[in-house]
């Protein structure tokens, strides 16, 4: 049920591998704390890999928006990678798919950071 997060560095980009559910309570808080910690350490180029996130609720969507704007406001970039169909569909119907920079493969995503 809960969300597991691991981070790795590739060419100056922090890839955050998420696995589980991003929902009200634990999952949303985990994302928030992780992004805050990365920013506090000066890591401002963040690629959220959601390949193993099969479920997200409105709170989780809000948390992704919050992470996106928080990183941007600090002069960084946050992009999304490997959306599952369910998460993809949710971002489509909430019109957020075009707000986020969504990538489908890691190598391309890493090169796309400025």
């Amino acid at each position: 049920m809960s969300l597991k997060i691991t981070t790795r560095q590739v060419d100056g980009i922090t890839i955050v591998d998420c696995s589980g559910r991003i929902t009200l309570g634990e999952g949303s808080v985990t994302v928030r704390d992780n992004v805050r910690e990365l920013l506090s350490k000066g890591h401002k180029k963040i690629l959220l890999n959601l390949g193993d996130v099969g479920y997200i609720d409105s709170s989780g969507i809000g948390e992704l928006v919050s992470a996106f704007t928080t990183v941007r406001n600090q002069g960084g970039e946050l992009k999304l990678l490997n959306l599952t169909k369910k998460v993809h569909d949710l971002l489509q119907i909430t019109k957020l798919y075009t707000v986020f920079d969504v990538k489908e493969d890691e190598a391309t995503a890493i090169k796309s950071f400025s």
Binding site: L24, I61, G62, V65, L90, I93, T94, K95, L96
Partner: protein, 161 residues
């Protein structure tokens, strides 16, 4: 008709046309409501995508009831009813809050609201269900969610109105 309240029971038999739960105003209730919706939608023959939609709609309605309606007040309860009529699964969620005015919820798709971090719950519920009715009152909000059953119906023991 045939309504009964119980704490929480795990099995929903097809012969039962109506099941009710009375739940505390806690985050655990949100997960329990979602799990009950998943089980009952599955038992009623909805496909995987529909089950996910119903479960998410119930989850979002439960979030509203627990957080915004009852505001985690331990003295207030959330009630959750599942009723199978001939061609519909009807789910009713009630809280004991001060009443949600749906007309005051901003459109989450408006450009100025796209980057807001909340306010998408009711929108998602409306997106996933066939009918949604919100009845606010001073003693709480009732939200009724309807999903049409597309497959063979189990109307033989349908509860009369």
């Amino acid at each position: 008709m045939g309504s009964r309240f119980c704490r929480f029971h795990r099995h929903f038999a097809m012969t039962e046309q109506r099941v009710s739960y009375t739940l505390d105003s806690t985050l655990e209730t949100v997960d329990s409501a979602e799990q009950a919706a998943t089980r009952i939608a599955t038992d009623n023959g909805f496909d995987e995508d529909e089950v996910m939609q119903i479960a998410m709609a119930v989850r979002e309605a439960a979030v509203n009831a627990v957080l915004h309606g009852n505001a985690y007040d331990p003295g207030k309860k959330v009630t959750l009813d599942f009723e199978r009529t001939g061609r519909d699964l009807v789910i009713t969620i009630r809280d004991q809050g001060t009443g949600l005015d749906p007309s005051k919820i901003p459109d989450p798709l408006a450009p100025e609201n796209l980057l807001k971090t909340s306010g998408r719950g009711i929108f998602l519920i409306r997106s996933f269900m066939d009918e949604v009715q919100i009845h606010p009152s001073q003693t709480g909000t009732e939200i009724k969610l309807v999903k049409h059953v597309h497959g063979p119906t189990e109307g033989g023991k349908e509860a009369s109105q």
